[in-house]
């Protein structure tokens, strides 16, 4: 018996910022588009984005997309593809104006223009400084406002939402063309085939591979697991961003906008230590730089609190009025999760896993690309990806704050437009292969019939613990080697997880087991790629190879699930219309 089939022009997996931006393009163009989401769209993790979206509007002083491009390339430690970065920075101002016309409630200046705040790594004059105010924001709830705006526009355009549906596997025909996905309706436990002319992944990040993360429980890298099971590699998975300011012990994010508005970090001696690590940018250096400085302070015994395990983020000097108007959500989070009122006392913070720079390899048009023959970047027909799950790559080895929202707006739209082009040339559905859905059936049968296996929560805890211990802010050769060994053992255990509750209706145990199948692919890709990269670049900082090595390592990693093999491809150093920004030493 095969699964029931539903037909759409296009299926979008994920209804966060990039999924909603892409589906809006398709729905407004009149296509029959299905959007699948594990949670109600406005609860997608984009909702947690606080500080703003980067675009060189120049509302607060002089700015240009060329400067934004320079900052992004430098922030990426030259691992970002310069064609994609140029495309993003040039399109960014346009995407903000579009969003404004969609009804996004941005903060305003006196003259009515969109308010922009300073953010880490964003400078004037090609990195020379001083800091530029480039982050367009709606208080400290920018992502929240953005999701609601985009969702309402989608409802208006008649996009079809499948809420609380989980995509399970990709369906490709004999030629490799993507013709659909399988997905489970959580309420009933029933599985369907979504037969489509094109599939677009917008499944967000996978921060839940770490024990301590700012990410929501839903961020399990579903798109990454799905494509790696379908033979598509994952790119640059060794690069994980640790956000400097997660609430100590709780992991909840405190926006970099706090430092943008004038807050700063202190060690136990009350010293503003960032002045030592980044004399120019200080607390507004790139995130990898600030996170390493904090970890060093803690390691050398200058951490705060009983366990000397965190530093302090001071913002009381900004005044209660500014905090309540520009950072109201932060005050609420600090009270709830750290039991301090930041208008009076500093917030205990610690670097916390926040963002996945790597992902599904795409070009700047949002088309998924994978090696075929001698072509390292052959387009996979019918498959698109955008947002955090994709690796275009604009963030390279380290993402600048505000560029995640810029990424999802620009590439959500670009991937949507590429899908439309593909649909114009491919007017009818290609036939489903005879074995469509078999992989999903095999996985579900395995899970239902497993005996003598371990619980999902036990194996999941081992996975998160391995990543946290062996693949953190600082990386050591012995830890990376044992990390690879340990995660391969965890992989064996994931293949034998057992659920006691086999019921169909809203069975979250089954959902979590299926999510673990995706998390393990992400963790394997991360550790294997990290162990192999013998240099320090951006967020990947090795004790045994302390310097960036452009001779041997100015290249993207590609991890393949089959045999857990690695390959490499060149970084795009040629932008679209401007000159290459040549690698140089990165200081702030």
């Amino acid at each position: 018996m095969s699964f029931p089939v539903r037909k759409f022009d296009a299926v979008i997996v994920g209804a966060g910022g990039s999924g909603l931006r892409a589906s809006l393009q398709l729905a407004e163009a009149g296509y029959n588009v299905a959007v699948l989401s594990k949670v109600f769209p406005t609860r997608s993790h984009t909702v947690a984005a606080q500080g703003g979206v980067g675009a060189a509007l120049g509302n607060m002083g002089e700015d240009s997309w060329h400067w934004h491009m320079y900052d992004t390339v430098k922030g990426s430690d030259w691992l970002g593809d310069q064609d994609a970065i140029e495309f993003m920075c040039r399109e960014a101002p346009k995407s903000i104006l579009e969003l404004e016309h969609f009804g996004m409630p941005f903060d305003r200046n006196e003259d009515g223009t969109v308010y922009q705040r300073p953010f880490g790594g964003h400078m004037q004059n090609f990195g020379a400084g001083p800091a530029v105010q480039r982050s367009c924001c709606a208080a400290d709830r920018t992502g929240h406002a953005m999701l609601h705006t985009l969702y309402q526009r989608n409802v208006r355009a008649n996009a079809n939402f499948f809420v609380e549906w989980m995509a399970l596997d990709l369906i490709r025909d004999d030629s490799g063309q993507v013709v659909g996905v399988t997905a489970m309706e959580m309420e009933s436990g029933d599985v369907f085939i979504f037969h489509a002319k094109a599939v677009l992944f917008a499944t967000g990040g996978a921060g839940r591979v770490y024990a301590s993360s700012t990410n929501a429980f839903i961020n399990t890298g579903d798109g990454l697991g799905i494509v790696s099971r379908a033979g598509i590699p994952l790119e640059d998975m060794e690069f994980w961003q640790f956000h400097p300011t997660g609430v100590s012990g709780a992991g909840v994010l405190i926006t970099e906008g706090v430092r943008g508005e004038g807050g700063y970090l202190l060690n136990k001696d009350g010293e503003r230590f960032m002045e030592r690590y980044a004399p120019n940018a200080k607390d507004l250096a790139s995130r990898d730089v600030v996170a390493r400085a904090m970890a060093t302070e803690i390691k050398e015994g200058r951490g705060c609190g009983e366990g000397a395990d965190h530093v302090l983020l001071k913002l009381d000097h900004l005044g209660e009025q500014l905090i309540d108007s520009k950072l109201p959500g932060i005050r609420e989070i600090a009270k709830k999760f750290a039991n301090v009122d930041p208008a009076r006392d500093p917030i205990p913070v610690v670097p916390t896993c926040h963002y996945m720079m790597g992902g599904i390899p795409t070009n700047y048009r949002g088309e998924v690309v994978a090696p075929r023959g001698s072509d390292m970047e052959a387009v996979v027909p019918g498959l698109y990806a955008a947002g955090e799950c994709a690796c275009a790559s604009v963030h390279g080895a380290n993402r600048l704050g505000t560029n995640s929202l810029t990424d999802l707006l620009v590439f959500g739209k670009s991937a949507g437009n590429s899908t439309i082009e593909f649909l114009k040339e491919n007017k009818s559905h290609k036939e489903l292969p005879s074995d469509a859905g078999e992989l999903t059936r095999a996985r579900l049968n395995r899970l239902n019939n497993q005996t003598g296996g371990e619980s999902v929560s036990e194996v999941g805890a081992a996975l998160r613990d391995t990543m946290q211990r062996t693949c953190g802010v600082f990386r050591f050769p012995d830890l990376l080697e044992s990390g690879v060994r340990e995660i391969k053992e965890v992989e064996q255990r994931v293949a034998r997880t057992e659920i006691k509750d086999k019921s169909k209706v809203f069975n979250t145990a089954r959902v979590e087991a299926l999510e673990l199948d995706n998390l393990i692919e992400v963790a394997m890709a991360s550790l294997v790629s990290a162990e192999a990269r013998k240099e320090s670049r951006g967020a990947h900082d090795r004790a045994d190879f302390a310097e960036r090595d452009d001779v041997n390592w100015l290249k993207h990693s590609l991890w393949f699930k089959e045999g857990s093999k690695l390959d490499y491809k060149a970084v795009h150093m040629e932008p679209l219309t401007v000159e290459t920004i040549a690698p140089k030493v990165r200081t702030y």
Binding site: G249, A250, K336, F337, S455, S457, S503, K504, V505
Partner: protein, 48 residues
């Protein structure tokens, strides 16, 4: 801490019922969600 949870499995139960769980909370548990995850993972002292 004692939790009373409203339970219902439409496959098995004729109607919903209350179940009690005695949970030992840790200092790292900040939210109700942390307690619910403990219960779901079976990390409680006893249930009745």
């Amino acid at each position: 801490m004692l939790f009373k949870i409203y339970r219902y499995d439409p496959d098995k139960d004729a109607k919903p019922y209350m179940q009690e769980y005695d949970v030992e909370l840790q200092s790292t548990d900040r939210m109700l969600l942390d307690a619910l995850i403990r219960i779901k993972d079976g990390r409680y002292v006893k249930s009745s």
